[in-house]
């Protein structure tokens, strides 16, 4: 390993010749870090490395072997208790990032992967289209210049977080710690105001957290409401408001 470091220094003028070794993970740790710094500033090297990685991956895929029989169940069980990360590409202020960390955005990633691998079924494709459309809208609100964040307690338990962008006439809503509801019931968002009371979406629940929901079409004077309703959603609120927030 020491030997490798010395050689690299000697040939340091042409770091791109390390692309092959890098693509096969054949660099010792220090060399790897150095090459990655080089890659960050060399578009041609990044291009070449990506192509060599594809070739190396083909070598890997050629070694395919059946995994042990119990592995699928163990992996699925571990995944059920492992939280997914949000996409790296959406740049939002750190305080807002938590909003994206839940549910929908990450789920779209896996479904997208299934689509890329050609193993997705029709309903996964539909789910992806919806998720992509809504995660684009969500990202637009979270990255808007005038985005402001509010946190409010929910009557009966839980906390709601709202990120609103007046210029986009939209808000992103998430909540944590809401009381569990029977399967036939669900939480529904409302926009209440001079233009009438409009349903603004039902909340997808993931173990007490809700995925981010986008409510668009905000008007001056609207309030945001939340109530428990039949799981399919109601056309107008029937339950008591457990959140009633002037916007």
């Amino acid at each position: 390993m020491k030997l490798t470091g010395i050689r690299l220094h000697r040939t340091g003028r042409e770091p791109h010749t390390l692309a092959g070794a890098y693509a096969m993970d054949a660099l010792a740790e220090a060399d790897r870090a150095r090459f990655e710094r080089h890659l960050a500033g060399c578009e041609a090297c990044a291009q070449e490395t990506a192509g060599l990685r594809e070739a190396a991956a083909a070598l890997g895929a050629a070694a395919a072997a059946s995994p042990p029989p119990g592995l699928r169940q163990r992996v699925m069980a571990a995944a059920a208790t492992t939280r997914q990360s949000g996409p790296a590409s959406v740049r939002v202020r750190p305080r807002l990032r938590a909003v994206l960390a839940v549910g929908a955005a990450a789920a779209a990633g896996l479904v997208a992967l299934a689509v890329v691998f050609g193993v997705a079924n029709g309903s996964m494709r539909q789910q992806l289209n919806q998720a992509q459309a809504s995660s684009q809208q969500i990202a637009a609100v979270l990255t808007a210049r005038d985005a402001t964040m509010m946190t409010r307690p929910v009557t009966g338990g839980g906390t709601a977080t709202i990120v609103m962008s007046p210029s986009r006439h939209a808000l992103v809503f998430t909540a944590a710690g809401l009381p569990a509801l029977p399967p036939s019931r669900g939480y529904e968002l409302w926009l209440i105001g001079p233009r009438g009371d409009r349903p603004a979406g039902t909340l997808p629940m993931h173990s007490g957290m809700t995925g981010p929901v986008i409510a668009a079409g905000l008007h001056h004077g609207d309030r945001l409401g939340l109530s428990a309703e039949p799981a399919v959603g109601a056309p107008r609120p029937t339950g008591p408001m457990i959140l009633d927030l002037p916007l």
């Binding site: 060599l52 083909a58 895929a61 992996v75 691998f117 993931h206």
Partner: protein, 169 residues
Amino acid sequence: MARGDAAAFDAVYTRVAAPVFGIVSRVVRDPAQSEEVTQEVLLEVWRTAARFDAARGSAMTWVMTMAHRRAVDRVRASAKQSERERRTAAAQIPFDEVAEAAEASLDRERVRRCLDSLTEIQRESVVLAYYRGYTYGEVASLLSVPAGTVKTRMRDALIRLRDCLGVAR
């Protein structure tokens, strides 16, 4: 976990589990550790699926890159106590590694053919680095060739493989 995610992950598992387990066990060798690393890789796919960027390469490459990186990290971490063992094993390298696996497939045939088109030193460098997890410095001392030569042979070899396999780019 949402039901849609579980179904999608199950489908992805079906597609990637064998390639991941194959390369991990080729590099790591020890069956129990191979299974452990395979599980880590698949969970990383689950955790970071949203970070996959199709503009930067294929999904299979994304997964295999994670798998190989983790396998190599594992084998290097445990290399210290078994350094002698590895060196001894390396002394009798079967250069026909790819033919080792029992089941035949078209991909395997193609990769084999392309590996055969490399020069001997290119092929040995690729096999030792990719399938055994050696650094290029280690490969150089195993083959008694200057490190600079191994480095350039590795790049030449992958370029040739890339062109032979008709990989995009």
